[in-house]
């Protein structure tokens, strides 16, 4: 057998084996690998590289050594899934480096993390002042996770005491001019509904590049033809406006009527409507 055929066969077969081994070892980003996984990856690559081009050594040598470098990390991973102590040993533990706003120098030293590293990691999180930090943890993969002090944290709806309507994920129901049936079924809608909604907007499905439905069943589309204007959903803002108008009308009636009984009726209902508006407006925003 000519050499070039041998090399081709070796390259292809080892490539396939390597592909499956790395797949079975679990998918992770390169930056998330711990040091052991990182070395395993390099060694597996090295074994393949050597055996593809070295025709003197039989190919099963490559398979044996790759298998060993696959099975041990695999077993280690399985064991560490089961046992917490084993996991701490193989994958390392996170270490607190700032607590109650104070830097814990001893822990920094144990992780071989110097002051510049700490400042750099904080800057990555957009923190330029150590005094702004309440708590910081150094993760085993070398990343620093930071909890800023209460006053330096971004404000949330909870802080403001705002009422916010809950919502679910948006489903993509049209892609490249074709309806996607599974997402539609997820929100218990059917293609007929989709057609009706598109008819209301006066667009044909072939012209829709992307269409999404939010948790309130409102359809928004992006068209291939960017010169066409697409109506944005008006149902909810219109509803809120109508409610406000009716409320104002009722108040006006209450003021203008002279019949005491009617006045009371208008007043009561205008208050009721105001209550309804307050209750529903988070959902209509």
């Amino acid at each position: 057998m000519p050499d070039w055929i041998q090399i081709t066969i070796r390259a292809v077969s080892l490539l396939v084996i390597l592909f499956f081994f790395t797949k079975w070892l679990g998918m992770k980003q390169l930056s998330q690998l711990n040091i052991f996984e990182y070395i395993t990856g390099i060694v597996l690559g090295g074994i393949v590289a050597i055996h593809v081009s070295t025709l003197d050594s039989p190919i099963y040598f490559a398979v044996i050594s790759m298998f060993i470098w696959f099975i041990i990390p695999y077993l280690v991973e399985q064991l560490s899934l089961k046992s917490k102590t084993f996991r701490d040993f193989t994958q390392g533990k996170s270490r607190v480096v700032i607590q109650n706003g104070k830097i814990l120098e001893d822990n920094l030293k144990k992780e071989h993390f110097n002051t510049d590293d700490l400042l750099e990691s904080l800057r990555e999180k957009n923190i330029f002042k150590v005094a702004d930090v309440e708590f910081a943890v150094l993760e085993p993969n070398g990343k620093l996770n930071v909890l800023p002090k209460r006053e330096n944290r971004p404000i949330t709806a909870k802080d403001l005491g705002l009422d916010i309507a809950p919502d679910r994920e948006t489903q993509t129901v049209i892609m490249d001019g074709k309806p996607l049936l599974e997402p539609l079924a997820n929100i218990s809608l059917n293609p007929t509904w989709l057609e009706a909604e598109l008819d209301k907007m006066n667009v044909s499905i072939e012209n829709v590049f992307l269409g999404q439905v939010d948790s309130d069943g409102q359809l928004t589309v992006d068209l291939y033809d960017d010169t066409l204007a697409v109506p944005s959903p008006t149902q909810k803002p219109l509803l809120l406006a109508t409610m406000k108008k009716c409320q104002a009308d009722l108040e006006l009636f209450a003021l203008s009527t002279e019949n005491e009984q009617s006045k009371q009726l208008y007043k009561r209902n205008s208050e009721k409507l105001q209550k309804a508006i307050d209750q529903i407006s988070p959902y209509l925003r």
Binding site: A165, P166, D167, R168, I187, S188, S215, D216, G217, Q218, Q235, K236, L238, L239, T242, M243, K245, C246, D249, L250, F253, S256, T257, S262, L265, Y266, R268, N269, K272, L273, K275, A276, Q279, I280, Y283
Partner: protein, 67 residues
């Protein structure tokens, strides 16, 4: 525009609000939102019934609107 026709317009708007709320409550797949819509829909319904009574009263006072 007489008071009668103004109240009539308002009554129509209330009916439209009720219908829209019912559409929204059927359309949403979020349970809490559905309940909120339903609750407000029932308030609107009460208002509608009150206004309807008022409309009958006004119709007696302004008989030309019955024709």
């Amino acid at each position: 525009m007489t008071v009668g026709s103004q109240v009539r317009t308002c009554y129509a708007s209330i009916k439209s609000i009720e219908a829209t709320l019912s559409i929204l409550s059927n359309q949403t797949n979020e349970l809490t939102a559905r309940e909120a819509y339903k609750e407000v829909e029932s308030i609107i319904k009460e208002i509608k019934e009150d206004l309807n009574k008022q409309l009958l009263l006004l119709a007696r006072e302004e008989p030309q609107y019955n024709q």
